[in-house]
């Protein structure tokens, strides 16, 4: 397990240096989108419309926060299950998305799109939303405001802790790590 500090967005060169199992602290800008926002982005693409932000080299965090208390940038802010976005993820990766932060398993189609595009799938610790919110310095809704918690947010993060699950070579930590501790 290697610890790394990275700035986001990042390009193909930085992505290919990542290995499944690396513990990474991210600093920079990331975007949130979950079920409803993905559906809208997907429909926008089908109609040939522009997306609310440039996907190139960016990361999408699958997250819908709880409301922020006064004086705070955001409420609880942990990852949601990534597999619900599997239907939409390959198209976004093919358009330049560098990676995703979520939790849980991905489909073969997503894994193939990750390898094809030298992208990465990170996991943040599910159910640690209060802790993770401390690494978010600023949050701003940039699209689909009417979706409430599911709106697209631009987040400024500092040392946001994630773990590389699927690396650009297609290694999958969920498979290797679980097999390593299986005692059946």
């Amino acid at each position: 397990m290697m610890e790394r500090y990275m700035t986001v967005p990042f390009g193909e060169k930085e992505a290919t240096g990542l290995k499944s199992g690396d513990y990474v602290y991210l600093t920079g800008t990331i975007y949130t989108a979950r079920d409803a926002a993905h559906k809208r982005m997907y429909e926008a693409l089908q109609k040939g419309e522009e997306l609310p932000f440039d996907l190139k080299d960016n990361l999408i965090y699958y997250m819908g926060p709880s409301p922020a208390r006064e004086g705070r940038p955001i409420g609880s802010a942990g990852p949601t299950t990534a597999s619900r976005m599997d239907k939409y993820a390959p198209a976004l990766l093919d358009l330049g998305l560098r990676g995703m932060i979520g939790k849980g398993k991905r489909s073969d189609a997503v894994k193939e799109a990750i390898v094809r595009n030298k992208a990465v799938y990170f996991a943040a610790v599910g159910g640690a939303g209060a802790l993770l919110s401390k690494s978010i310095l600023h949050s701003e809704v940039i699209a689909y405001d009417d979706l409430g918690t599911e709106a697209i947010r631009k987040l400024e993060v500092k040392d946001f802790p994630v773990i590389v699950v699927i690396d650009p070579e297609g290694n999958n930590l969920y498979e290797t790590a679980i097999a390593a501790y299986r005692e059946e």
């Binding site: 397990m1 409420g75 609880s76 942990g78 949601t80 939790k103 159910g127 209060a130 802790l131 501790y181």
Partner: protein, 280 residues
């Protein structure tokens, strides 16, 4: 006959929504402490430490433990000598959930229609289960249920011939399929017997039993212990990233069933197994 005012019910439900989403019960925090000590994987240990830190921040800064503050499930046990005044009980509970989620900065995660999917913006309606009991007290259990783990829950309509091995395999199958998606370490609530819906309800209720308490039926207790051990050998581990802590407890409830059936429901909950209980 004892009178309970609906205003009192609303206020209790409001407080319970906020309490359950920021503080775990003592049995859950103790189970997480013990897991932190016994976990074999270094990364697993680190994740369990993060969960401890997360609980501390949640309580001190009043930030919900998890951003998915759930759909509110309420169990209402009404003593038959209680008289409720001041309006409908159902309305009082829904109003408590509305206030709790709005005033408590909790996420509104409920959509009005399963297919049209427009957010109700106040997290209502709650799912409410009523039981009539003896006495003159009203007992409320509020369990906000997150859907990362709810989505991994299963029901199996087994055959009587499948027997106890069939039941164990069904539970293990559900847990293995859930894997990292259900935010392990999980709590596994199981219902065995009854009918299709009774079995699912028992599985949900089993999640509200303290994780350090076993079933009072000897063979069920043995099954709980054996399954916990076997689940923790699957290797799934904290966060699904490998390790020896996949579940904190397996809680099984049983009920008589039909000569032709053996229903088994597995309701999986993440490590944020939340509930608040009050008696009015």
């Amino acid at each position: 006959m004892r009178t309970v005012r609906t205003e009192q019910i609303t206020e209790n439900i409001r407080e319970m929504c906020i309490e359950a989403n920021h503080f775990l019960t003592g049995d859950m925090t103790e189970a997480l402490d013990r897991a932190g000590e016994s976990e074999k994987s270094p990364l697993g240990k680190q994740i369990l430490q993060q969960l401890q830190e997360n609980l501390q921040i949640a309580g001190e800064d009043m930030i919900p433990i998890c951003q998915d503050t759930g759909m509110a499930v309420v169990f209402v046990e009404i003593g038959q000598d209680v008289h409720i005044e001041g309006g409908l009980l159902e309305d009082a509970i829904q109003e408590g959930v509305r206030r709790g989620y709005t005033e408590g900065f909790l996420r509104k995660s409920v959509v009005k229609d399963p297919l049209i999917r427009e957010n109700t913006k106040d997290n209502t309606p709650a799912v409410i289960h009523y039981t009539i009991t003896a006495g003159d007290k009203l007992r409320l259990t509020l369990a906000p249920k997150g859907f990362g783990s709810e989505n991994m829950s299963r029901i199996f309509m087994l055959k009587p011939a499948d027997g106890i091995e069939g039941v164990k395999n069904a539970i293990l199958t559900a847990v293995k399929d859930a894997g990292p998606n259900a935010c392990p370490p999980m709590v596994v609530g199981v219902g065995i017997g009854g009918t299709f819906e009774k079995c699912a309800l028992m599985a949900k209720q089993a999640l509200t039993r303290p994780v350090n308490e076993h079933s009072s039926i000897p063979y069920v207790k043995e099954m709980e212990e054996e399954l916990l051990e076997r689940i923790n050998k699957t290797g799934i581990g904290p966060g699904g990233l490998g390790g020896s802590t996949t579940a904190l407890a397996v809680n099984i409830n049983t009920f008589p069933t039909h000569i032709a059936g053996l229903p088994v429901a597995v309701n999986i909950c993440c490590h944020v197994n939340r509930h608040a209980v009050r008696e009015i």
